[in-house]
């Protein structure tokens, strides 16, 4: 039996298997299949019919030559060319053997045998190399496939991520809109709170205002009535020729008239102050007498509290620097600041008085001073002072130590903003158990 049939079988089946990976048309697949079958058939005939051995071998060799020629010619077999090169020497030697046998020429047999061995070695070596290359190729292909799969997964992930990003963006946009709405609402609420803080402090003032208006009215009404009487008396005196008495009465009338004027203006200032206090429109700075303003609110705050709480009491002390003159401020705003400071001071001394310390006299002191190019207004109380842990927070909005419902927590925060808007400073110094001083510094 010749080695050639096995070579054919191996070649056809191997090529079929190999080329399938590089793309094989069904036609050539069939051809290779038939090649394999024919090789097997020829081998079987070769074994069972020893007489026709040479014929089958020749047919086999011709098939191989034809096939090798086709594979070398057609581009479809290009990837398998190295396999062909591996078997080529074997086939060529077999053909030469066949031809020599036909010619009954045996003189080259030894040479051919060694050539055949060399061809087999060549084939085996090539086969080994090809196999190795093939495996490497397969590995590379496998890797490429894996990479492709990876890319596909990555792309899928990317698409998924994009969807998520879009969703998230939509969510964030919605959140942003919600937040903006919330901010708008908060701003509106803040404006309302500021207004209600003003109204609350106006409420604190109303009783004080009533008291402060009734007092000047008392003088206006009574002095004017007295003057009416005095005019009558003067007429009587003049009629009786008592010139001296008439002049004395006229002097009294003039003095009373001054008092009427003074108290009338006092009432006027109080009403104006009240109106300014509740006004919401942005005001402009104007020259104002800080001493008079602070004093007025000092009294208003005191009488306001007195009206609300009958047990409340405090000694008011004031110490004005008369050299200050007028300074440029928004009077109702600074009024609000000092009112707030007075209210707090009165609250502080009231709290301390509740502790029934023997000899304790609740005292609130207002002092003003000109210091270089600034005016300092100090509101001092001898209350319990502010605890150190709280003192940093007192200017924060909504911070209050008063029981719920008694303070908005906006008083000092608003005061701070107002003083800042005047390019001034609002400071506090406090000692626990001794009292607190709030200091307003305003530029002249």
């Amino acid at each position: 039996m010749s080695f050639d049939f096995i070579l054919g079988m191996v070649l056809f089946s191997y090529l079929r298997k190999f080329l399938r990976t590089t793309g094989l048309t069904s036609f050539w697949d069939k051809v290779l299949q038939y090649g394999l079958i024919i090789s097997i058939v020829l081998m079987v005939i070769n074994i069972v019919q020893p007489g026709g051995r040479h014929v089958t071998e020749w047919i086999m060799h011709l098939i191989l030559v034809a096939f090798i020629y086709i594979t070398l010619k057609l581009p479809i077999f290009k990837p398998a060319r190295s396999i062909i090169y591996a078997v080529l020497p074997l086939v060529i030697i077999a053909i030469i053997e066949d031809v020599l046998q036909l010619l009954n020429n045996n003189q080259y047999d030894d040479w051919l045998d060694s050539a055949e061995i060399f061809a087999i070695v060549w084939w085996a070596a090539m086969w080994f190399i090809i196999n190795r290359q093939k495996k490497a190729l397969e590995k590379a292909q496998q890797k490429a496939k894996e990479k492709e799969a990876e890319i596909k997964i990555t792309e899928a992930l990317k698409a998924e991520l994009e969807v998520q990003v879009a969703e998230r963006t939509a969510q964030l946009t919605a959140q942003k809109e919600e937040l903006q709405l919330a901010i708008t609402e908060l701003k509106a609420t803040q404006a309302q709170l500021i207004q209600s803080e003003k109204m609350a402090s106006l409420g604190e003032l109303t009783a004080g205002i009533a008291h402060e208006i009734q007092n000047p009215l008392n003088f206006v009404n009574n002095f004017s009535e007295v003057n009416a009487e005095l005019v009558e008396e003067m007429k009587t005196a003049l009629a009786s020729g008592d010139k001296e008495e008439a002049i004395a009465i006229a002097n009294d009338i003039a003095a009373n008239e001054q008092k009427i004027n003074h108290h009338g203006k006092r009432a006027d200032a109080i009403v104006k102050g009240m109106l300014q206090h509740s006004r919401t429109s942005s005001a402009i700075k104007e020259p104002a007498d800080i001493n008079a303003l602070a004093d007025e609110y000092f009294r208003l705050a005191y009488h306001g509290l007195r009206a609300k709480d009958k047990t409340f009491n405090a000694t008011l002390k004031s110490n004005f620097d008369d050299t200050i003159g007028s300074i440029n401020i928004i009077p109702q705003d600074i009024g609000r600041v000092v009112l707030n400071l007075f209210t707090n001071a009165f609250y502080a001394v009231t709290e301390r008085k509740k502790q029934n310390i023997p000899g304790y006299e609740p005292t609130v002191t207002l002092s003003t001073k000109k210091q270089g190019n600034k005016v300092v207004v100090m509101v001092q109380d001898n209350g319990n002072g502010i605890p150190q842990k709280v003192v940093d927070k007192i200017f924060q909005p909504f911070f209050t130590t008063k029981p719920t419902g008694q303070g908005t927590g906006l008083g000092l925060s608003l005061s701070y903003d107002i003083v800042k808007a005047h390019n001034g400073e609002l400071k506090v110094t406090t000692t626990e158990g001794t009292g607190t001083v709030f200091i307003i510094e305003l530029p002249v």
């Binding site: 009783a207 008291h211 007092n215 008392n218 003088f219 009404n221 009574n222 003095a255 009958k310 000694t315």
Partner: protein, 124 residues
């Protein structure tokens, strides 16, 4: 009749002196003035039983008129003088507290001097 007027408004002195100028001239009435509760107490200490009538404002810095009233009526003078309260707050609470503490009468600002004279039985 000696009347002590207690009010932190200093013009009250001028007003009373003018309003009662005839009565003062005719020695029908005599006035003393104090401008705080504390001042009123020290006056009463120095001139015991001189003032038969006290007219006091309620709302004053330091000692209030109500505290003064409480002092006079309960811990101070025996027998206590007549005390009339004058206030700018015409509210019921002040009135009730003043009455509880023993105030003999209650007037509101602006003061109606015709009414006051009537209460004091002064005709001029």
């Amino acid at each position: 009749m000696k009347i002590l007027v207690v009010d932190d408004e200093r013009d009250m002195q001028t007003l009373f002196e003018q309003r009662f100028r005839k009565a003062i001239r005719e020695k029908e009435v005599e006035f003393a003035f104090a401008f705080s509760g504390e001042e009123a107490l020290s006056y009463l200490n120095q001139h015991e039983h001189e003032a038969v009538l006290i007219l006091s404002d309620i709302n004053m810095p330091g000692m209030s008129g109500l505290e003064l009233l409480d002092h006079i009526k309960h811990t101070y003078l025996k027998p206590p003088p007549v005390v009339m309260m004058i206030t700018a707050y015409g509210d019921a609470e002040n009135y009730n507290i003043a009455k509880q503490l023993g105030a003999d009468d209650f007037l509101t600002k602006p003061v109606d001097f015709a009414l006051l004279k009537q209460k004091l039985n002064i005709n001029s």
